[in-house]
């Protein structure tokens, strides 16, 4: 399969810390960077909370993995998409987020998803 480039989308719909999905999903994303595929990350619903600035996890004795989102850029993972309505329903704006993202309408997000070859959700 040398040279095959597929469109991979990782869909994140869950808040961080309440469950491990956000953290372990990020581990797959980092690994995927080594495979020279066309990788996108989508943040929908509570998934947008993963990108919230100012996470401080000392009080729950758990590792704060949110700085890793800032490292994605250095791994050539640059396509981060956030759905507008999901942000709004949670009182968040782009300024609240740790990283630069592209904000999409529900229709744009739906279209983008349609174009993928592989959609992995956690």
């Amino acid at each position: 399969m040398e040279g095959v480039v597929k469109k991979f989308m990782f869909v994140n719909r869950k808040a961080p810390y309440g469950t491990i999905y956000a953290l372990e999903s990020l581990e797959v994303v980092l690994i995927s960077a080594a495979f020279d595929q066309d990788v996108s990350l989508a943040f929908l619903d509570d998934g947008v909370f993963q990108l919230k600035k100012g996470q401080q996890t000392k009080g729950i004795e758990t590792k704060n993995f949110s700085p890793t989102y800032r490292a994605l850029d250095g791994c050539d993972i640059e396509k981060l998409y956030v759905e507008q309505e999901s942000l709004e329903a949670r009182g968040l704006t782009e300024d609240d987020l740790l990283v630069d993202v592209t904000v999409l309408s529900r229709a744009e997000m739906g279209e983008l998803m349609e174009q993928q070859d592989v959609v992995l959700s956690f």
Binding site: G18, T19, I20, E61, T62, K63
Partner: protein
């Protein structure tokens, strides 16, 4: 006051095991007693001695074992739930014991308050 604790989810996947641990630690620090922590459903997976989390992460299983040793807490794993999920004496971490569901009901009777942590 005597607390009984029920944990319904395994380590790492859900925060329930963390919340239960931090509650126990705070209760003990305030001079309360933790009568028993009962592990049910996927909660039985808190009892495997085979976990090896990344070094920069908390070790949830060891934390329970140490809490039990330092404070003489009874950590009970439900036998039926444990057999379903592959927890047996051979992979059981220190401080845990496998017993029946009756121990959960007994905790409800003997503790002043019983709190559930789950998904």
């Amino acid at each position: 006051m005597k607390f009984g604790i029920l944990v319904n989810e395994g380590p790492y996947q859900h925060q329930a095991a963390d919340s239960a641990y931090l509650f126990c630690k705070a209760a003990l620090a305030k001079g309360h007693e933790v009568h028993r922590v009962f592990f049910y459903h996927d909660g039985v997976n808190n009892a495997t001695r085979l976990t090896e989390p990344p070094l920069d992460d908390r070790n949830i299983v060891n934390r329970w074992s140490k809490l039990a040793e330092d404070n003489q807490i009874d950590l009970v794993v439900c036998v039926a739930a444990a057999l379903r999920r592959g927890i047996r004496d051979e992979n059981l971490a220190p401080g845990f014991r496998i017993s029946g569901l009756g121990q959960l009901v007994e905790t409800g009777i003997e503790a002043d308050r019983t709190l559930t942590f789950g998904d």
